[in-house]
C-alpha cells in the first residue's frame, strides 16, 4: 500500500515570472543614457498584485536606435497573465520606464493537473530551498540516487517560511505514519502550490 500525500495545485494567487530573457517590452517611454548592462533593477507592478521580480537590462545600439534586452533575474511571485509591469531605469544606462503586459509565456509553467501525489516511501526530511520559502524540498535517498520532490509555491516569504516548512513536514509525517490514508497538504493562508516535480 502506497504512502503518499496530496497537494492541491493552484494558480489562483498568480505565478513567478520566468527567470530568463524576456522580450516584448515597450521602450517608447525610456530614455537612452549609455550602452551597457544595468545593475539589478526592480520590476514594479503597474496593474496586478505581483511582487518581488528583478531584472537586468542590456542596453545597446546608442542614442539613435537603442535596444533594451531584459533578463528576469528573480521571478518574484503573484504575477498573472494581463498584469502590466515596468522597469524604471536608474539613469546609468537608461532613464524612465520600460513597460510590458505579461502573457502566460512570461510566467513559469504550472503543472496542468489539479492535484499532485507525493510519495513518501523513501522520504528522509523536508527543507526550504531558499529563505523566501517559495520552494520546499522533500529529500529522499535510494541506492545510488539522491533526489528530492520539489514543491514550487507562490506566497512564501521569510515571515511564513517556518509555517510552510512545518506544514509540509507534518503532512509528510502523517503520510508516513498513516499508510491507509492520503493526507492533504494544507499550506498557510495565502500560500499556494503550483507545481510538484521529482528533481535531482
Amino acid at each position: 500500500m502506497a504512502n503518499q500525500f496530496i497537494v492541491n495545485l493552484s494558480t489562483a494567487d498568480g505565478l513567478p515570472m520566468k527567470e530568463a530573457a524576456l522580450a516584448g517590452w515597450d521602450a517608447t517611454a525610456a530614455t537612452w543614457d549609455a550602452n551597457g548592462t544595468t545593475a539589478i533593477l526592480d520590476v514594479t507592478t503597474v496593474t496586478g498584485s505581483g511582487s518581488g521580480a528583478k531584472a537586468e537590462v542590456e542596453v545597446t545600439g546608442g542614442p539613435g536606435s537603442p535596444v533594451y534586452a531584459v533578463t528576469i533575474t528573480e521571478g518574484g511571485d503573484g504575477y498573472k497573465d494581463g498584469d502590466e509591469v515596468a522597469i524604471l531605469g536608474d539613469g546609468d544606462e537608461f532613464s524612465d520606464n520600460l513597460t510590458l503586459t505579461l502573457t502566460s509565456g512570461a510566467l513559469v509553467t504550472p503543472d496542468s493537473e489539479a492535484q499532485a501525489l507525493v510519495p513518501v516511501d523513501y522520504a528522509l526530511f523536508v527543507q526550504l530551498a531558499a529563505s523566501d520559502a517559495n520552494e520546499v524540498h522533500m529529500r529522499q535517498i535510494q541506492p545510488e540516487h539522491n533526489r528530492y520532490w520539489k514543491l514550487s509555491l507562490n506566497g512564501g516569504t521569510s515571515d511564513n517560511a517556518e509555517a510552510i516548512l512545518l506544514s509540509v513536514n507534518n503532512t509528510m509525517r502523517e503520510a508516513m505514519q498513516a499508510p491507509h490514508r492520503n493526507p492533504v497538504l494544507v499550506l498557510p493562508e495565502g500560500v499556494t502550490c503550483y507545481d510538484v516535480k521529482l528533481s535531482s
Binding site: N3, V120, A123, L124, F125, V126, Q127, R139, I141, Q142, P143, E144, H145, N146, E162, L165, L166, N169, N170, M172, R173, M176, Q177, P179
Partner: protein, 102 residues
Amino acid sequence: MASLIEMKYGTGTLSLNVDGVFRVEEDSSNAICYYNTPGAAAGEVWAVTIDMSENVTADDAAALELLVKRAQQAPGSKTLFELPSNSDATVDSMAVSDLAYP
C-alpha cells in the same frame, strides 16, 4: 511504517526518517547519520548531516544513535531528540551527501 526522529524547529518539530541508519557520528560539531544505502560513488553510503543551533558533542551523537536504535525497533514511532548537552538546541538544517563508511 517509518521510524522518525523529531527535532525542535521553531514552534514545532522537523522529522528525520531513520530507517536504515546504522551509525551516528559527531563531525565538526554536527551529527552525521549513516544510512545502509549505497551512495552515488563506489564504496560510499548516503548520510544526513544534522546542523543544530548548538554544537553537537560525541556524547550527543552517541545518545542519538541509541535513540535511533530504539526508534527502529518501534515502527511508526516518532521520538523527540534533544541534545543531552543542551536541550534547548534546535535544528538549523539537514543535508544529504554520500560519505565513506566511517
